[in-house]
């Protein structure tokens, strides 16, 4: 939906350096990923109207929120923004329902209470309506913050490190809930995080940020299959990301068959059932290349493909080779010596050997919902 698209351009020399330009469509989740101090939160604050950068242009659908060139700056309370703050920023003197009611001022008075209860039910907090924030757990506070952000019927939802303060189990639950919400909302969602797990599980698009400067930006799978993302390699390790369908399960062998566009591979996983859609991540350093079809291996996956790119980084002793297997671009991290010995060049047919253990399976239908739209 183009009419709810969020377009952002920010430039500033100091005190916090900013140099980014991106857009996010309704229904998409743009993850802004970078180390702390890279200006991630400042980007969100600029969108919300809490920060005024030197040069900025921020447009939500037909509304121009910030345009420094023409002196336009809508104050925060006039922007339809849902903001989930890093430490939730709940109003400590109000109950859960009171917090949500605060953001319902645009609704007729008679409807507010029932709408607030409805929103808290949506985030599974019906039992805690009259609790104050200090009587709620970290995960529950996060849910109140989310309900409060949604109460405003925002044109864009901003999440600042939403899972930083909760433990791993709660984090998984919340990630699933936000992923579910996202599909019903149909607004752009901007997620700021320094944890790549959030990106993999929630994002459809990624913007990598380094010291305020926007680096690579684009759809997640295509970005993840690029061989030249030096910073990403150092931070989380390179690895291609793509979606597949579970086509067969072999319980007796402890294997499942996963089919993707242009190929199939096997994984040892018993938790998924046939027909379910999964997202696969194959770390580059778990992929071995062979120039002829290997025989007698203990691993199941030897995919035939064509070398589509080779990236040599002088600062790095390994070489990243991109291999096209059907529609999917795999990455392999191999030594410079191996490149020379095997004589690997672009256009050459190779076999990508993947250790089955290194396949991550993620229960998400995010990308497929994307395609269906």
């Amino acid at each position: 939906m183009a009419d709810r698209r969020l377009s952002v351009t920010l430039r500033q020399h100091g005190p916090i350096r900013l140099d980014v330009e991106f857009a996010c469509d309704a229904g998409d989740v743009l993850a802004i990923f970078g180390p702390s101090g890279s200006g991630k939160t400042t980007i969100l604050r600029s969108i919300a109207g809490l920060y005024r950068p030197e040069q900025a242009s921020i447009r939500s659908g037909a509304d121009l929120w910030t345009d420094t060139a023409s002196g336009i700056f809508a104050p925060a309370h006039r922007r339809a923004v849902g903001f989930v703050f890093q430490e939730y920023a709940l109003f400590p003197h109000l109950t859960a329902v009171g917090n949500v009611l605060t953001a319902l001022g645009h609704r007729p008075r008679a409807e507010r209470r029932s709408r607030a209860e409805q929103l808290l039910a949506l985030v599974h907090l019906s039992g805690h309506l009259n609790r104050r924030p200090n009587a709620l757990s970290g995960g529950e506070r996060q849910r109140v913050a989310l309900a409060r952000a949604l109460a405003r019927e925002p044109a864009v939802l901003l999440l600042d490190e939403p899972f930083a303060a909760v433990d791993r189990t709660v984090r998984r639950h919340l990630q699933d809930e936000i992923d579910e919400l996202r599909r019903t909302l149909d607004i752009p969602l901007i997620l700021v995080t320094h944890d790549f797990d959030d990106v993999v599980r929630l994002a459809t698009h990624l913007l990598v940020l380094e010291q305020g400067k926007g680096g690579a930006c684009g759809a997640l799978p295509s970005l993840m299959s690029r061989p030249d993302m030096a910073w990403l390699r150092a931070a989380v390790g390179l690895g291609s990301l793509f979606d597949a369908v579970v086509t067969h399960t072999y319980p007796s062998r402890g294997l499942v068959e996963l089919t993707f566009e242009g190929g199939a591979l096997f994984a040892s996983d018993s938790s998924v059932s046939a027909g379910s859609k999964v997202r696969l991540r194959i770390p580059a350093r778990e992929v071995i290349l062979a120039t002829s079809e290997p025989k007698g291996l203990s691993l199941h996956n030897a995919l035939s493909g064509i070398v589509s790119a080779i990236h040599i980084d002088p600062a790095f002793d390994h070489v990243i080779v991109q291999v096209a297997v059907g529609e999917v671009l795999l990455l392999a991290e191999i030594t410079r010596d191996a490149i020379a010995t095997l004589g690997i060049v672009v256009g050459m047919r190779v076999y990508a050997l993947i250790k089955s253990v290194s396949i991550d399976m993620l229960k998400t239908e995010a990308m497929h919902a994307q395609e269906a739209r």
Binding site: R45, L50, A76, H77, L90, P92, T102, R132, R152
Partner: protein
Amino acid sequence: MDWTALRVSLWLGVGTIALLLPCGIWLGRLLAVREFPGKLLVEALVTVPLVLPPTVLGFYLLVTFGARSPLGQAFQAVMGQSLAFSFQGLLLASAIANIPFVVQPIQRGFEAIPTDVREAASCCGLTPWQRFVRIEVPLAWPGILTAAILTFAHTLGEFGVVLMVGGNLPGQTRTLSVAIYDRMNAFDDRSAGVMAATLLVIAVATLMLTTVLSRRVIPRRG
């Protein structure tokens, strides 16, 4: 027991709060949330009455309120009476002497509100005024309450400024603390003792009330 003096003292305490609290909230919040040129000077000026001997403060106020000063003349012209040695003059002097007792606790109260909570209020669609009334004042309430109590207690006990600016006019400017001094000078130890005990009871009651009221305040972050 000088009931008139007690009445003057209580009226002076309540009046000072009523006069000073709105200004104190405005200034305290301004100092807490805004950065502006000259902020340090304002903060220093706000504290001056705290470190100045009451007689020095009283002297300057008396000069400012006197019949020959522009303020004194203006008051005389409008109200038909002198500002010095009147209840109104005493009230104004008391308000000025109490500025630090009001501004500082309120400033700390507003400073204690996390920036993201204030920002969240704006992101909820609250206008700056709605945010002030519905979020900031309730959260700064302990500071505002402390300011009111301190002012009341301090006004009741103020002696130097009252004597300098107000003199000792029964029903006008003779407060309980001045009346105690007056009775002692007249060797009326009994009356002085009763009045001193009255002030002590009021002080204890005020502090108890503070405790009760501040218990109703919700802990900030759990």
